[in-house]
């Protein structure tokens, strides 16, 4: 029953999305008020239908309905309940249903929060979102229906969820990531509507800003969770591989970061309009490109979802339609949104322009590296692009970016007189470099990249606090100072400090981590970076849905026992899969990471073992938390609310 019901609801959602794409848009151009006003109810129905459909699938997993192919392939009666829940989005079909559900979530949010947009634009924005949703849901219905039955010969038990996905990180990573990916559809829809109406003013930018920041923050946290998950779950101790699926999420992130900054200029200065529009369109296009790369299986990646060329073709076609029409619209209509360029080289405008140029360059570098294997294949060569390419050139635009980030926020719009800033900037630079030299000296070995990375981190961090102080210099008390800051300022500072915490973490962990693959027997001890790892015991475990061999390592420092680490090698019964479960002691300045390779002899007492001492690993993700939450703070700035109430009263007055 629930499968059919879920399926009907998907069909209903499809019909609603078709209506939403056509009716309000048509109504808004023909002056048909009734049709124009269908936008909101249609959006609500769309959301409710998808939510109910999603609940049907969750229910199917809950009751182990193996007559549904998707459930049979990705669940098992032995699977713990919490993983039955996350198994709903553990593979292609279900995760795409979640994707569309999240899309509808953004749509209903726009429908509810954006009530005070001009009535016509409101309907058109929802209609554009409806078109995108229509593309997604036809993909779901026609190529990836999660409710397909296995009748009449259904299996007695399911073939289990991939053990890698039986994990807390995987419960929250996809939803957050998708909220980021799909969230950029909102700024896309705003830009398209602006282009259709031939108007893109600072007011439009102000409407778009909180949505973009929200999507960006979700994406930031989603990427962070993915990296953290890869680190502890894949058992290699790496946190970023420049894998196509990572790049797929990193591309819209880079482009989205440029967009956020460009939107700030359009909002405050009513300029950079073309840039902002182009970035809005390209950010969402990159989201779609990422979807294509991951879900078509054209690239070999750690989590290629599928090898079905039909799905690839469908997304590619959809991508072509979206990018093509967006580009066409941009080329024909963007001429109407002229900007007068009016600023000096030394101004906030200029620095934000450079920010945009650098982020776009970085996007291009990553895009090229990601797509190169596909291009090469067309010419009959099989190439792969790995970390060496990205590590060689990606840091270049980043170094310039961080150097500018220490100055940009301090400058005035339009033009700035440097004379007052020269002295403080010089002292900040001297302090930053001196402290970095001291830190590298304390760490022992000297590396130029560490010095550069730390200096830039401190440069930006100190300058950020200097900026806060400068903004609140007329308030005497700390409470008064804090009160006088806007949420935008707090969010921005948090994000900027976050990104340099991540930067510091990246350089420190890249250069000071010690990683060893060893052959160890029970009773043997190995020393690494001042820690002694003693392989104490090998034990067999039996759990709900897997068996495991657990090896206990005692960790000593200066002859004192600190704690035990217990990595496991698991064998999942239903899917007959082997899994490496690392054990990690996380710390502020270092992580101790132990993972098992394989048993090397018949006694089971000799193992290949991976022991890592990862310096400052947590900082990489801690910084991302600061960025993400900085975004969540900034999006609630009064600035965006004020606009709404003012606009609302205007509409009331007009009526």
């Amino acid at each position: 029953m629930h499968a059919e019901f879920g399926n009907y609801l998907l069909v209903l959602a499809f019909i609603v999305s078709v209506s939403l794409s056509i009716l309000p848009m048509y109504g808004s151009f023909t002056g048909n008020q009734f049709l124009t006003r269908t936008a909101k109810p249609l959006t609500v129905i769309f959301f409710v239908a998808l939510l109910a459909s999603f609940i049907c699938l969750v229910y199917a997993f809950y009751i182990d309905d193996f007559t549904i192919r998707y459930v049979a392939q990705h669940s098992n009666s032995l699977l713990p309940n919490r993983y039955k829940f996350s198994a709903v989005w553990g593979a292609h079909e279900g995760s795409f249903l979640l994707w569309v559900l999240i899309m509808s979530g953004w749509m209903i949010a726009v429908a509810l929060v954006g009530k005070n947009l001009p009535a016509l634009s409101y309907s058109r924005i929802l209609s554009v979102l409806g078109m995108i949703a229509c593309g997604f849901i036809s993909f779901l219905l026609f190529t990836s229906n999660p409710f397909e039955r296995t009748l009449p010969f259904f299996p007695i038990d399911g073939s289990d969820l991939n053990p890698l996905l039986q994990d807390f990180g995987l419960i929250i990573h996809p939803p957050l990531l998708y909220m980021g990916y799909v969230g950029f559809a909102v700024s896309f829809a705003f830009a398209v509507t602006g282009l259709i109406e031939g108007e893109w003013t600072s007011t439009w930018a102000r409407w778009t800003r909180p949505w973009t920041i929200a999507a960006w923050s979700c994406l930031t946290l989603g990427i962070m969770l993915g990296s953290w998950w890869a680190y502890y779950e894949l058992g290699w101790g790496g946190w970023w591989f420049w894998d196509p699926s990572e790049n797929a999420s990193f591309l819209p992130w880079l482009s989205g970061t440029a967009l956020m900054h460009s939107l700030a200029v359009t909002d405050k200065r009513n300029s950079f309009k073309g840039w902002t529009l182009a970035l809005s369109l390209s950010t969402f296009s990159l989201s779609l490109l990422g979807t294509f790369l991951i879900r078509s299986g054209v690239l070999t990646s750690v989590h290629s979802f599928t090898n079905d060329p039909e799905r690839g073709r469908f997304i590619l076609m959809f991508l072509a339609i979206v990018v093509g029409s967006a580009l066409l619209l941009f080329l024909t209509r963007s001429g109407r949104v002229k900007t007068k360029v009016d600023f000096n080289i030394l101004s906030k405008d200029m620095f934000l322009l450079l920010n945009n140029v650098l982020f776009v360059s970085a996007t291009f570098i990553v895009l090229f590296g990601t797509l190169y294997p596909l291009i090469a294949e067309v010419f009959g060569k099989k190439m792969s692009v790995g970390a060496p390419y990205f590590n060689a050139i990606f840091p270049i635009p980043m170094v310039i970016l961080f150097a500018l980030l220490g100055v940009g926020p301090l400058l005035n719009w339009k033009k700035h007189n440097l004379s007052k800033l020269k002295k403080p900037l010089l002292s900040i630079a001297v302090i930053a470099v001196a402290l970095s030299l001291l830190s590298t000296w304390l760490m022992g070995d000297f590396y130029l990249w560490v010095l550069v990375g730390l200096s830039l981190s401190l440069w930006v961090a100190i300058s950020s606090f200097y900026h806060l102080n400068l903004m609140t210099r007329y308030k005497k008390t700390l409470a008064g100072k804090l009160k006088s800051l806007t949420l935008t300022n707090i969010g921005m500072t948090s994000a900027h400090i976050g990104v340099v915490i991540t930067l510091a973490g990246i350089v420190l962990t890249s250069f000071y981590s010690i990683e060893k693959d060893l052959r160890m027997a029970v009773g043997e001890s190995k020393e690494l970076a001042g820690y002694t790892f003693n392989m104490a015991e090998v034990k067999d475990l039996r759990k709900e849905n897997y068996q495991a061999t657990q090896v206990t390592f005692e960790v000593f420092q200066n002859g004192e026992k600190l704690f035990e680490l217990k990595p496991e090698k698991r064998f999942y019964l239903a899917g007959r899969q082997i899994m490496t479960e690392a054990d990690i002691d996380a710390g502020f300045t270092r992580d101790l990471y132990v993972a098992l390779g394989e048993s090397l002899d018949s006694t089971g007492k000799v193992w290949s073992v991976r022991i890592y001492v990862k310096s400052f690993m947590r900082w990489v993700w801690l910084g991302a938390l600061f960025m993400g939450f900085g975004g969540f703070i900034a999006m609630f700035d009064k600035r965006y609310r004020k606009l709404r109430s003012k606009n609302a009263s205007k509409i009331v007055a007009e009526a």
Partner: protein, 157 residues
């Protein structure tokens, strides 16, 4: 140039700057891509001497049955990768991925040494026993073995 109005001059500056920036980025990308990309070669191509020895490449194929030799004292593993036409010896001294098996597909990254032995610094882990990397299928196909690519079991992992 003397008569150039300030805003014209700014525009010119912007254009010059833009061209320089684009040039720099394209130049960097082209340089890095010529230096840092890893060519994929099959055992047959290695045997024919078509594989570069001065840089890191990727090879793929099947791990030959009965060819895996493990050291008694270290992590070193020697094995043979075959595309059923040619064979190539591979040596690796780190932890093998869980799904490394005789008779299964494998993709290795590394360099050929003077003795023609492939010194791997990374063996790619595949998360699914049913899943064969496109490279492996390709190597087999190029060596003249038709491969059934419609392996639907690879889905969704």
């Amino acid at each position: 140039m003397m008569a150039m109005k300030p805003h014209r001059k700014k525009r010119l500056l912007a254009i010059v700057f833009g061209v320089l920036a684009v040039g720099a980025v394209v130049g960097l990308v082209l340089y890095a891509s010529s230096q840092k990309m890893n060519l994929f070669v099959t055992p047959t191509e290695v045997q024919a001497g078509a594989a570069p020895t001065d840089r890191i490449i990727r090879i793929g194929g099947l791990v030959k049955e009965g060819s895996v030799v493990r050291s008694e004292t270290s992590l070193r593993t020697d094995f043979i990768v075959t595309d059923r036409v040619a064979e190539i010896s591979v040596t690796y001294d780190k932890i093998m991925p869980d799904l490394f098996r005789e008779g299964q597909g494998v993709v290795a990254m590394g360099q050929l040494n003077e003795q023609g032995i492939f010194v791997a610094n990374n063996i790619l882990a595949k998360h699914d026993e049913e899943y064969k990397a496109p490279e492996v299928l390709d190597a087999l196909e190029r060596a003249g073995h038709p491969v059934d690519r419609s392996d639907k079991k690879a889905e969704g992992k």
